[in-house]
């Protein structure tokens, strides 16, 4: 983990209200699939936690949706050549074990981006079946990256592209054919909740990446906690963001 003053290489719109930001660090950085970055935005006291989509050498790409003033400032003020303060790599990330050959990815909204980093990391060594949900056609992005897995199903809420419905529904219609050894997921909490109830009793290891408002991003301030089934709290930024689905209360 380091604080780096990076240089913006590209910050472009890739879908409705969605941007892809690529920056160069001062040297090569090691980022695991599912880890995230705290991005500093001038004039805002809090950094924004954003999942890494791609990391290659010193170049890192993160994708974000316009949600408030901070992300709008990020989109409008950080063009090529601007300096950007980043803290990385953060969090535990996704891990796929040796024995797990068939990997199912279930993503929704901005939750698809950390899963794209899983495809990049494991496309060669694993069979990846992706179920990615979007609001509508205008929100779809990263199709080329997502197609690098074995199979890709796109789901849209309005049915304008692909499966009409949620990515969880699309996945559950295929689960008995795909027979995944492990399921990795990221998306809005209602989606993760639906996945949790759909997976209960199936005995397939399932991991979810959680989102929460963060303070420090490194585990010190105890702002971004989640409830665990054993009654304790875990820090989303440091103990997560990836948790075994049975271990967290969603």
């Amino acid at each position: 983990m380091r604080e780096i003053i990076a240089t913006v290489l590209e910050n472009k719109k890739i879908a409705e209200e969605t941007y892809s930001l690529t920056f160069a660090c001062d040297e090569a950085v090691k980022v695991r699939a599912g880890q995230f970055v705290m991005v500093g935005i001038n004039g805002f006291p809090l950094r924004r936690p954003i999942a890494v989509c791609k990391a290659e050498g010193e170049r890192v790409t993160v994708c974000y949706r316009l949600k408030g003033e901070g992300t709008r400032r990020l989109a409008s003020s950080y063009s090529r050549g601007e300096k950007l303060s980043v803290l990385l790599p953060l969090g535990n990330g996704f891990y796929v074990g040796e024995k797990e050959k068939r990997v199912a990815l279930v993503g929704g909204g901005v939750g698809i981006f950390p899963l794209v980093s899983v495809i990049r990391a494991y496309a060669e060594s694993k069979e990846i079946y992706s179920y990615m949900g979007f609001r509508n056609k205008a929100a779809i992005c990263m199709q080329f990256e997502m197609q690098r897995g074995k199979e890709l199903t796109i789901a849209t809420d309005d049915g304008s592209v692909g499966y009409r419905g949620t990515s969880v529904q699309a996945f559950m219609e295929n689960i008995d054919r795909v027979k995944p050894d492990v399921v990795l997921s990221c998306g809005p909490t209602p989606m993760l909740r639906a996945l949790k109830s759909a997976m209960s009793g199936r005995n397939i290891p399932t991991y979810v990446s959680l989102e929460e408002r963060m303070g420090c991003g490194i585990g010190a301030c105890l702002v971004c906690v989640c409830d665990l089934t054993d009654g304790k709290h875990a820090r989303v930024c440091k103990d997560g963001p990836v948790f075994e689905i049975g271990e967290v209360i969603l």
Binding site: M1, F44, P45, I218, A220, L222, K232
Partner: protein, 302 residues
Amino acid sequence: MTDLRVTICGVELKNPVIPASGAFGFGREFHELYDISVLGAVCTKGLTPEPRLGNPVPRIAESSGVILNAVGLQNPGVEHFIEHDLAWLKGKTRVIANVAGRDVEDYGKICARLDGLVDFIELNISCPNVKCGGMALGVRPESVENVTRVAKSALKSTPLIVKLSPNAESVSANARAAEQGGADCVSLVNTFTGMAIDIERRRPVLANNTGGVSGAGIKPIAVRMVYEVSRAVKIPVIGMGGIACAEDAVEFLMAGASAVQVGTQNFTDALACPKIIEGLAAWCESHGVEKVSDLVGTVKMN
């Protein structure tokens, strides 16, 4: 070379810069980013006799130039701290244990437990985010004096800092009450109670509805309060509230603080504290100040 050392209640700190309680955990995470032994001291996350889970999330919000937090004193309990973190932290720098409790007896109990084990105890009677204890004890002079007296009587060797709330009728009156109750030092300001509303949902952003406001936006109010309190009491004052750079720290020292704490800026810039220490040395150097302690309380009113 500027002499950055300061002495508070007979305890020497290598410099006057201290990460504030709650922003820094017990230092382990920030130690992954830089060697925390450069710090004058570390002020721990608020400790209670028993472990606490704190408030529901969201626990943080942002507004122009400030943040709001409502963590609600989540901590692993004082015994866990003593067993797992204290020795490690003492090996790095001076340790200020920030403590809180549900009632006055709790404060006495936790002070007795930590007496002689840490360099300072900071009494948190100003947390705005918990229902019992916390700020309830810190708003009126009589209760400030009472809880201070109970804490002080539980301490044989460790100096007692009382952390004051700005959410009071008179912070100076509370500072005098703390001094009267036996405090060796006061620190201020804790956070201001505030609220931020998500206008789309027509609900407060924080699950707790209200939270403590901190960050650059509160600095002028904090400077004024530190100035007033430092003139109201004879015991030393530790200043904080929106310090983001070395120049801000100088302002607090001139207002009357013997040392400063840095909270929110650790989130904005994880390397804030070491940068402020370096900047402080450079500022003193360029202004012909030989000892940083020479700056304390030197502001002249117009």
